[in-house]
Subunit: 190 residues, 3 copies
């Protein structure tokens, strides 16, 4: 299955919602006003040839991330590219493990966009603490770790040792919009 | 499928257990002794025409909520009404999305009962931080966000902006007692 | 289905990885250098006739546990015994609930091995805060709480009241390596 590229307004809205797997409205962090000068972490992202997507807008009674003390809890996010839902289908049926890896990498990029919107500057990340990688697969699919490595590898590429996290990579019965991968995060900031 | 109303003792015990989805024995928080004068949050609950159910009693080696510093981790709870299990079955088969929404609202009411028992006074809630909404559905069910909105909407009705939380709303393979929805929470208190 | 006892190198590596369900490389905690003198908690473990397995070694871009302030987030772990994957199959099909209970107990022992490696001394545990018990079952399997009791009961046997935790015990669509049970933990330390 290829990426979904429907341009209907409804799909785009679904895309923005699913960028959070379900969850919007990050508030501006205290450094958000700093403006355009990219920090060290964002330069690392650019160095990988990647660009942070726009953070999802508020659409319901939940938000993309909440800061509680030094911890940031980031909502479950999905694979959204150019405002459109992609990778819709199950691992072990519509997608291979290699495609799942790419999906997980894309999901993490969406998570980081929301994280930046919540804390203002990704250089405030002290440690990526915990990742829950949820894979939409058939009941017999067992390569969840290899799929979620797409997200874990990206975190370490970007943050180095600060990106090494605790995680669970597990198989769900199903996921919103039939997305292949959804990931939520806990991050420690300074 | 309608609500389950069996009156056997065993079912009632299962109900109390499932009110936690699995988890009992909240300790009394430091304000518990305050007694009957309802706080602002409880008046908001009453204003919605709702009543907090009794908090589930201890039944095993886990508890309904644990306070760690300023964070409260609330166990997974299920849809219990009048001490009885309700909404037993899968979304996309026994229940519609609209019924799931009602189930999620009921589950959240049970979560809040446990939270109150754990911290003594719901006015101590500084922010609802994170919600994990687990939906028991068929492998093709994809409307988990619409189901879990039942819980998210209730939180914002009760707590206002303090009720806006990060969340994941996802599909499980199955749930205890075949309940349709189970939700766990992280809450920040003062 | 019996325990898997294949001795191929690859399986052993998978075993070490699955001991984390997915997650390696715990760092040595500040008390790790204390050496061999077992603390109170480890004497309790020995008193139950149990031995902590070796903590899993680093194999990828995630770790077995991350300490953030006073909280430790322990990665999802699986049932590994003598470096080999065991209990591979689904509850309600390959395994009975009683076998699942034993699997959950074994998983928790692996979690504690990683926790010790991360914090140096299990006596630093102030409270087991939250457990997410993930059961690989058929869509109709509903005895997740009874399965995860194997982990909860062990925690209380070892830690007493400090071991009483919030938890969710839920059914997954599938799990890595087709393991029957995976558990992740949040622990408060001093």
């Amino acid at each position: 299955m290829a990426r979904v590229r429907r341009t209907a307004r409804k799909e785009a809205a679904a895309g923005r919602a699913a960028a959070r797997g379900a969850g919007p409205a990050p508030r501006r962090g205290r450094n958000a006003a700093r403006g355009g000068s990219a920090g060290q972490v964002e330069r690392a992202i650019a160095g990988l040839g990647l660009t942070l997507p726009p953070a999802p807008a508020a659409v319901a009674n939940y938000v993309g991330a909440v800061v509680a003390g030094n911890l940031v809890f980031v909502s479950g996010h999905g694979p959204v590219k150019d405002g459109q839902l992609t990778y819709r289908g199950k691992l072990g049926r519509e997608f291979t493990t290699a495609q799942g890896y790419e999906a997980a990498r894309l999901v993490m990029l969406n998570c980081l966009a929301t994280l930046k919107a919540a804390i203002g500057d990704l250089d405030r990340v002290r440690r990526v603490v915990k990742l829950l990688g949820m894979v939409n697969g058939t009941p017999e699919f067992t390569e969840q770790p290899q799929v979620i490595n797409g997200a874990s590898d990206l975190l370490v590429s970007i943050f180095g040792d600060r990106g090494r996290h605790a995680r669970s990579a597990v198989g769900m019965g199903s996921l919103p919009f039939n997305i292949a991968v959804e990931i939520e995060l806990v991050v420690e900031i300074r």
